[in-house]
Symmetry: C2
Subunit: 128 residues, 2 copies
């Protein structure tokens, strides 16, 4: 499911992080599921183990996975967003919303864009 574009401006570990997050949002990977081991994931994707490791650490920092001895990288469950994550998301979304405004989007169009993204992410969800 993961598609890495080696020629993208976006670093490979960020592509991997983003795609794992999107797969969880889509419901393809669920809380309690384990991600593959660093070694096997790197082999499957044809990327460096260091890249997968960096991505897992980023996901752990974001609170999206927990590194559990023996089980590996386990998807965490979040019923409610915590304040730190909320503030971080606000910080990263602000420049992009500002860019949308500057590029000529009306408030309503920005909300429609958000709806489009949410719909696309939830398109293939079966039980959420």
């Amino acid at each position: 499911m993961i598609q890495i574009e080696p020629d993208s401006e976006i670093p490979i570990y960020t592509q991997l992080t983003n795609q794992i997050i999107e797969d969880i949002a889509r419901g393809n990977i669920k809380p309690g599921d384990s991600l593959p081991s660093v070694r096997s994931f790197a082999a499957d994707l044809g990327v460096n183990m260091h890249t997968v490791n960096k991505s897992y650490h980023e996901l752990e920092k974001k609170g999206i996975i927990q590194i559990v001895p023996k089980s590996g990288a386990v998807i965490a469950k979040h019923e409610k967003v915590d304040l730190t994550t909320y503030e971080k998301l606000k910080g990263v979304m602000r420049p992009q919303i500002a860019e949308a405004i500057v590029s000529g989007m009306k408030d309503e169009e920005i909300h429609q864009l958000v709806n489009t993204i949410i719909s696309e992410l939830k398109d293939d969800q079966t039980n959420q």
Copy 2:
């Protein structure tokens, strides 16, 4: 108005780009206005000229400024978002919306967050 955090994880040129975009969204800088020359802006901010130059090129690539001979970096006017920008914004916002969902935010909470950001950006707008 621009505040650079040298110790941030975010590269300085990106901080500069984001803050210029936010200042335009806020209406502090208006279409037709010119940004300072690279040399004087770099001196004011206490950063390398190369950093300001990189930020201006990024803004130009985003269609937010036009580099005009003699006038320098002029803020472009956008009445309506173009499709390329829309698709780019969709691409950069998707991982963040996915992260919001994964972190436990409901659709309605994501829209409220977007509203909060828009309100904060437009807080000190006087004539828009």
